[in-house]
């Protein structure tokens, strides 16, 4: 997957990813319209399918709202790369099939607007703008399958 990056700082919380005032619907397309609204109001308009979010430590801290990764995925974001993820967001992202990678080096070196390629199978991250390459710990094969299936529910349904 390859995309243009949007870059954010440490402690991006789920309230700014999808403000609670929009949590009166579980509809992914409606949520996508307001994704990142309180930290980057024009994000939902500018983001293109395949684009990548790069952020600092503790991405997705705060509320357990699964609407946060749902809205990011529904925007067409192909991967979130962060120095670290908050625990509940980490679980939620995988459970709904949003690819994420933990890589402090990439999170710090990649700049906003860089073209970045990600290989989930190997954990390789390439900044095509600067030519720098990084390596994140890839997920084990079952988790890659789970992400590819679109999340836990679909993965378990297919496994039956």
């Amino acid at each position: 997957m390859t995309g243009t990056t949007f870059k954010y700082a440490d402690n991006v919380d789920t309230d700014v990813i999808i403000p609670a005032r929009y949590l009166n619907t579980p509809d992914a397309r409606e949520l996508a319209v307001h994704c990142m609204e309180d930290i980057d109001p024009s994000f939902a308009k500018r983001v293109r399918p395949g684009d990548i979010i790069v952020a600092g430590r503790n991405f997705g801290c705060g509320s357990s709202r699964e609407h946060a990764p749902i809205s990011i995925k529904a925007c067409g974001v192909s991967c979130v790369i962060a120095a670290s993820f908050a625990r509940i967001f980490y679980r939620n992202a995988l459970n709904i099939g949003l690819p994420i990678l933990e890589c402090p080096e990439a999170a710090s070196a990649i700049a906003a607007g860089d073209r970045v390629s990600v290989d989930l199978g190997t954990g390789e991250i390439a900044d095509d703008t600067t030519g720098r390459r990084f390596k994140a710990e890839p997920f084990p094969p079952f988790m890659q399958e789970l992400i590819k299936a679109g999340g836990l529910a679909e993965y378990l349904r297919r496994a039956k």
Partner: protein, 421 residues
């Protein structure tokens, strides 16, 4: 092998003699919780699993508390979705607005639905509140809730722990909220990421159960998987009074390993305030400076319990909310509301110029019942002060105890509980 208290509960629920930090275990669930925001998403996922029935209709709790009483049509639809699922599945612990309902994390302990030694997951990050009862309780998302409802078990990575050694006893007008804000200020909003916060030491005895609920409630604000307290006589009395199942008391082994130990002398704590926009951005009350305010919110799953109401009323009694300040008091459950009525506390609030709401999470997450305009400042007894959490992105939230919040309402600026006298 020596284990922490949390590890022992996980081991018991995984059917293993021991577990170690980092290990993945499949564990049996005693209770699965959801609210009106997270449950509709979970129901959608539950349908995808292809199961007709939940694993145990007595071990699921569904609480409409966030946008209730329904704030708009969409919120009403979400509640209707949860209500009809509860009926379809015969969920025993579904609570309807007004009918002995309230904010989930105040309600479940009050109803005796969690006991010591339980393993609880909830699709709400503040599910960690039940650690005050000596349970392992942690927040999850809607898909995990759905899987829990379907299977009655789920996987966990066994956490390591930070031990918080408490000594002394807190001074007047200092309580659980000040302790947890102080701790988050020390270790940061990811200082306990993936770990347990295990509270211990002789100081625990001086904390009321309501103090412990407030502390465990905000473990997530340090990134923790759970916060947990040892089960002492106070906890056992609370469980018995609230008709909880017989407790299973676990305690940390003497040789248990911790990532670190932090010692806190409770008698040295001062009222503490978290400035915008992170719970870790703390200052003691003597360091706050002159911060004029527009609104005060006293309530939430952190500080909406009866002792919080009593503390606030003690400050408000015979005084007036400052001109230009809106003070909103929200008892966390119907029972607390009724008790506050019987004790005359609601009259104290109303006479002081507060508005008293029925139970709701409402303003805490910027839902309704007290949204902030651009540039407005609020002192809140809630748990998060993120950008835009209570309204406009340019509004500000200062987290504090009920005593500081009430004193601030009277003073019209952030104030110590004794300032206004």
């Amino acid at each position: 092998m020596s284990m922490t208290m949390t590890q022992k509960i996980l081991a018991a629920h995984a059917g293993q003699r021991e577990v170690h930090a980092g290990e993945l275990v499949m564990a049996r669930l005693d209770l699965v919780l959801g609210n009106d925001i997270t449950t509709p998403v979970a129901i959608g996922e539950f349908r995808k699993f292809g199961r007709d029935k939940v694993f145990d209709r007595e071990k699921i709790a569904l609480v409409p508390d966030h946008f209730t009483p329904n704030k708009d049509i969409k919120a009403a639809e979400q509640c209707a979705c949860m209500r009809s699922f509860a009926k379809e599945q015969g969920i025993v612990n579904y609570f309807e607005v007004g009918h002995d309902c309230g904010i989930e994390h105040a309600l479940l302990p009050e109803k005796g639905l969690v006991t010591a030694g339980d393993l609880v997951i909830g699709a709400d990050s503040h599910t960690c509140t039940y650690g005050a009862l000596g349970a392992f309780a942690t927040g999850v998302g809607s898909t995990d809730m759905a899987a829990g409802m379907a299977a009655g078990e789920t996987w966990f990575r066994v956490p390591s722990a930070i031990r918080i050694e408490l000594t002394g006893s807190p001074r007047h007008h200092v309580g659980g909220k000040d302790l947890i804000l102080h701790l988050i200020g020390l270790i940061g909003v990811d200082g306990a990421r993936y770990m347990s916060l295990e509270f211990a030491g002789p100081g625990v005895a001086s904390l009321s159960m309501d103090d412990r609920f407030a502390v465990a409630n905000m473990a997530i604000e340090a990134g923790a998987k759970n916060g947990i307290f040892p089960v002492d006589g106070k906890a056992l009395d609370y469980l018995a009074e609230h008709g909880a199942k017989p407790p299973e008391v676990y305690s940390a082994d003497g040789g248990a390993e911790y990532e670190r130990t932090i010692s806190i002398d409770l008698s040295s704590l001062k009222p503490t305030v978290a400035f915008p926009h992170l719970p870790s951005n703390t200052r003691t009350i003597d360091e706050v400076g002159d911060i004029p305010i527009d609104q005060v919110v006293i309530g939430s799953c952190t500080n909406g319990r009866i002792s919080d109401m009593r503390v606030a009323a003690e400050v408000f009694r015979g005084r007036k909310v400052a001109p230009g300040v809106r003070a909103i008091v929200i008892p966390a459950t119907q029972r607390i509301w009724l008790q506050a009525l019987e004790e005359g506390l609601l009259k104290v609030f109303a006479e002081a110029g507060c508005v008293v709401s029925t139970p709701t999470c409402g303003p805490c997450l910027g839902g309704h019942m007290g949204i902030l305009a651009k540039g407005e400042r609020c002192v809140a007894t809630t748990n998060r002060n993120f950008v835009g959490r209570m309204g406009h992105v340019e509004s500000e939230i200062y987290l504090a105890s009920p005593a500081v919040a009430a004193a601030s309402a009277v003073a019209g600026r952030i104030a110590a509980p004794n300032d206004e006298q």
